[in-house]
């Protein structure tokens, strides 16, 4: 009892033997890793390596073929709603309701997570002030730029005081100013509330600067997990980007385009990208 308790206290995420097969193709192939409570953890890999598939399984959106996921000591397959209360998420594609105001988006989230109106509003004010959107709280989300929407999504993901925040390529398509600002908020939150941050990114310098620990996944398998400093030492490289290239090779990965890519393209045509 004592030991098990200790283990679940120090590892907020514990993934064991995780497999996801689509037909014959193993998108995630026997993945085991853990994330310590309060850690900032970067999950890196080339296109199609299995990052998003893993995040989807961790966040109960996709059923694993095999394996076990524990988040905050709760089983992601058996206690879905328990796990869902423990994490917040910022998706790769936008997920705000554009026809609602920033405040209404926050209210809705609070209600879905069973928060009282007063509690939800107090926390909303604090978070929207942090991401510098409080003065735009009554604007419809569709009038927001890509960066503003992302900030709103971060605030929303944090509303119910989750223990883990998942971010799937949160800074893709954003300018350096916005990216820096975003990481400032997240680092502040991590320090202040001890929230664990799990993110994927294609910007290696970002991961190097922010992450305390890095896992690199390729062809559905974790090939290495360590601190950025140790990874550089191991590969005898000067930057995480060089370490990444030396570990995953220099060939360009061609991902099969699926239904989602077709939709994404359609959306780009009609709305001019992630606005």
């Amino acid at each position: 009892m004592g030991m098990a308790r200790m283990a679940s206290d120090s590892n907020i995420i514990q993934v064991t033997g995780l497999v996801k097969r689509f037909g014959d193709f193993a998108a995630v192939d026997d993945v085991t890793f853990s994330v310590r409570t309060g850690e900032i953890f970067a999950f890196l890999g080339p296109n199609g390596a299995g990052k998003t598939t893993t995040i989807k399984m961790l966040t109960t959106l996709l059923e694993p073929t095999k394996g076990r996921i524990l988040i905050d000591g709760k089983d992601a397959q058996r206690d879905r709603n328990g796990v869902r209360e423990s994490f917040g998420i910022v998706f790769q594609d936008p997920s705000t309701d554009d026809e609602l105001t920033a405040l209404e988006n926050m209210d809705l989230h609070g209600a879905l997570y069973g928060m009282s109106r007063a509690e939800s509003r107090d926390r909303t004010k604090e978070l929207l002030e942090m991401v510098e959107l409080w003065d735009r709280k009554s604007s419809l989300a569709k009038t927001f730029s890509g960066g503003m929407k992302r900030r709103l999504e971060i605030a929303r993901g944090l509303l119910h005081r989750p223990k883990v925040l998942f971010l799937d390529e949160p800074t893709a398509g954003l300018d350096p100013q916005t990216r820096n600002r975003m990481w400032d908020y997240l680092a502040k939150l991590n320090a202040k509330e001890g929230i664990t941050i799990f993110f994927t990114t294609h910007y290696m310098e970002e991961a190097e600067k922010i992450a305390q620990k890095v896992a690199i996944i390729d062809h559905g398998k974790i090939i290495v997990q360590d601190t950025p400093a140790k990874l550089k030492a191991k590969t005898k490289t000067k930057s995480l980007e060089e370490a990444f290239l030396s570990l995953t090779g220099k060939t360009i990965r061609d991902e099969e385009a699926g239904a989602v890519d077709a939709l994404r393209m359609h959306r780009r045509m009609w709305s001019g990208g992630r606005k």
Binding site: L62, E85, F87, L100, L108, G114
Partner: protein
């Protein structure tokens, strides 16, 4: 505790859809185009033939059919939105929420159905401006039928939206599901003296009973009987709510 949260979720998702509806007047007006065209072109165009065939006032006959049509399309499209929404939109936010999926589905379905009824009411009001004379005493019964059609097809749309992965399938659904449901429902023509094969198909289409019920309530024209209409609609609605709820809770993204 958990049922309290489910109710709260259903309520907030229902309100959300009403807000979205009230904020898009362009969409409201736009979706009135098709029913108006049917009412005016068919209603006044075929009226003289209908009358000379001894069938009475065609406009009076047609309006309940067109009201049912606008409810059908609004309700199914509301459900089909899931296809789009699951990738670029709000759906994922609700799928990771600690609320039973069936509650999310119920909130969406009720919201979509309410909007569909509102569209139907607007068409009905417009029709009275063009000379439709409804039986006001039976208006509550007509509204009940409209609500049943709306929930039935909203759940049907949710079921479709839960299994179709991209918009490629949309023309298929439009031409091979929605259009036949509408054209074979008795919305446009009386069901007496039909060829046997057509009659069988019409009798299978659940919208037939919706149109029949709305028509009986609003105009007092002969029908299958309110009891049969209500019975069939309720049974199909319950079945589709079950199916839609099941398929929706199995969505993986």
């Amino acid at each position: 505790m958990s049922s309290m949260r489910s109710l709260k979720a259903i309520y907030i998702l229902w309100i959300r859809q009403l807000k979205r509806y009230s904020r898009s007047p362009a969409r409201i007006v736009g979706s009135l185009g098709q029913p108006l065209l049917f009412l005016l072109a068919l209603g006044f165009g075929l009226g003289p033939v209908f009358a000379s065939a001894g069938q009475g006032n065609y406009f009076q006959f047609l309006v309940p059919g067109v009201v049912a049509m606008s409810i059908l399309f609004t309700a199914v499209f509301g459900g089909i939105e899931i296809i789009w929404d699951r990738q670029f939109g709000f759906l994922k936010e609700t799928l990771v929420a600690p609320v039973p999926r069936t509650a999310i589905m119920a909130g969406r379905t009720l919201g979509g159905a309410t909007i569909a009824v509102l569209q139907g009411v607007i068409v009905l009001i417009l029709a009275t401006l063009f000379g439709f004379r409804p039986d006001l005493a039976s208006l509550p019964l007509a509204l009940l039928f409209m609500a049943l059609i709306a929930v039935l097809f909203s759940a049907f749309g949710t079921a479709i939206g839960s299994i179709v992965e991209d918009m490629q399938g949309f023309p298929l659904i439009m031409n091979f599901v929605l259009m036949p449901l509408f054209f074979l429902s008795g919305a446009l023509f009386p069901l007496t003296g039909l060829p046997r094969a057509l009659e069988i198909v019409v009798r299978i289409d659940p919208l037939t009973y919706g149109v029949d019920g709305v028509r009986a309530a609003l105009t007092g024209l002969p029908s299958f009987g309110i009891g049969l209409d209500l019975g069939v609609l309720c049974a199909v609605t319950v079945a589709l709510l079950g199916l839609g709820g099941y398929l929706f809770s199995r969505i993986q993204v």
